[in-house]
């Protein structure tokens, strides 16, 4: 059963001249207990999708399409109705873990706040905080509880924000770039933490990342975003093992461990996208038509390329 279905999601920001199409015609779904990874570079509009699901976009954004959570349309829900889902059924792990914790509040209280919204009674909270922190493999949970965020490392803050997001035992977890800005030790621990979640297999996770290695390890299904649209979507092993779209191929070839063969050119700006295929300027074998290629099924997955 699909826990999350995104269909024809368009997100546009008004700009001084024209508009910025941050996300165009994005459709995908996440099954219950499945981990879906969306991979994209800066400017591919990947964070916008997570923000759209959680109603975190600024007022000025124009959103259309449909986002269904467990069959219920949530994109058009008013703020008052949506707030009963946010932080309860749908949780969010933000990027920038250190900045996402209130610098003036002890970590224990920030975790307790999350429990409070779940209706955990006041006298139960301290013990629940401690048990939650030790479940996150903090060696000294009581010390972490009385620390301020600046006293913890980036990796510890990452685990803490994950813990806060998991505190509500959500049905759907949206993780936005969990490994961004972490050094290799913290990154490794974070990936291990997600691997644990994957092994447990109870959580449905939508992960948004630029980290191909992470995506390859964690994902059950994977989508690749380019210039605001999905260019390839399918089972993760297939997408990363036998990429079909030239952009996916190029990304994988550019990894240092694969010999670092870069694609030419840069992503076109979201404000001035070319006609036809957005990837045409960088494509090793560009097609000659001006038509924008639609998403179509190729051997069990979807690809947006007229040559496949």
């Amino acid at each position: 059963m699909n826990i999350l279905e995104v269909e024809h999601l368009h997100v546009t920001f008004p700009a001084r001249r024209g508009s910025i199409r941050a996300s165009q015609d994005v459709s995908f779904s996440v099954k219950e207990g499945e981990i879906c990874v969306l991979v994209g570079e800066t400017g591919s509009g990947k964070s916008v999708i997570g923000q759209a699901i959680l109603h975190l976009l600024p007022q000025s954004a124009m959103v259309s399409g449909s986002i269904r959570y467990a069959g219920e349309e949530i994109l058009s829900l008013p703020e008052s109705a949506f707030s009963r889902l946010r932080g309860h059924a749908i949780s969010f792990i933000p990027q920038d873990p250190i900045g996402s914790l209130d610098p003036l509040m002890r970590c224990g209280r920030q975790v307790a706040e999350a429990l409070e919204t779940r209706g955990v009674p006041k006298e139960m909270r301290p013990s629940r905080v401690t048990s939650l922190l030790s479940a996150l493999s903090f060696p000294d949970p009581d010390l972490v509880a009385v620390s301020y965020p600046h006293e913890l490392s980036g990796g510890m803050c990452q685990r803490l924000t994950t813990g806060i997001a998991l505190a509500s035992s959500p049905h759907l977890l949206v993780a936005d770039e969990p490994t961004k800005g972490l050094d290799y030790v913290s990154r490794k621990r974070t990936i291990e933490m997600f691997l644990d979640l994957k092994v447990k297999g109870t959580d449905s996770i939508l992960m948004i990342t630029h980290d191909l290695e992470l995506a390859d390890l964690i994902g059950d299904t994977a989508g690749v975003l380019y210039s605001g649209e999905l260019v390839e979507f399918g089972p993760a092993a297939e997408v990363f093992g036998h990429p079909l779209h030239p952009y996916t191929k190029g990304l994988i070839a550019a990894l240092p461990k694969n010999g670092m063969r870069p694609m030419r050119g840069v992503c076109p700006g979201l404000a001035a996208l070319p006609k036809g295929c957005y990837f045409q300027d960088r494509c090793p074998a560009p097609c000659t038509t001006d038509l924008h290629p639609p998403m179509h099924d190729v051997c069990g997955r979807q690809v947006r390329c007229s040559r496949c």
């Binding site: 570079e41 010999g259 670092m260 840069v266």
Partner: protein
Amino acid sequence: MQPLLSAERLHKTYGHGNIFSDVSFTVNPGETVGLFGMSGSGKSTLGRCLIGLERLSGGRVVFAGEDIARLSASRFRKLRPAMQMIFQQPAISMDPRMHLFDSVSEPLAFHEKRGRPEVFASLFPLIAAVGLRPDQFSCYPNQLSGGEIQRAMMVKIYSLSPKLIVADEPTSMLDMSVQAQILLLMKELQKKNNTACIFISHDSQIMLTMCDRIGVLGDGDFRMMELDEFAGYTTELRL
């Protein structure tokens, strides 16, 4: 062969703590030496000390046969163009209130006492070599992407024909595909000009593709490793 740069028993303290101590290694002309370490291991500080942007607490750095700490200020300034640095954050490595063409042509214009437009015109081949168009240099740094600024930085640096470049995590703020482009460009320019490079990073994969030898900073001590030794050392860190 005489090494281009040799570092002898360098150490640096800050406040009460030791940032690094007893670091010794040499860099030969045209060679790429990596400096690997966790965040907070002092690898950026070490990089800055090597080219005299920060003061060492002890030890000496000999560059092209001269101890840089003992040079007089004016002699050291003459030597400086030969040792350049690429910084981690493209957003602030160019003067935010200067147009790029001003920033890029400034050092050469100063050293050769020529007008900046003239110098800029003479840089056109280099600009083409890094894959930019001259009209992109009419922008302020905040109007360009990180990859473009790193390319412009390359123009600025190579305009001085350096012998040594210290690259302090030049691609950690960039995207995957751009990262590969920039790294390859660095390699290519390095080969063409026979420039030595000290490459600072925390990404072991990049290290293995870029460097000839790698120095590992960890818990205050320093070890120089050959590539295969380093590959063995980092397997446990990888997934």
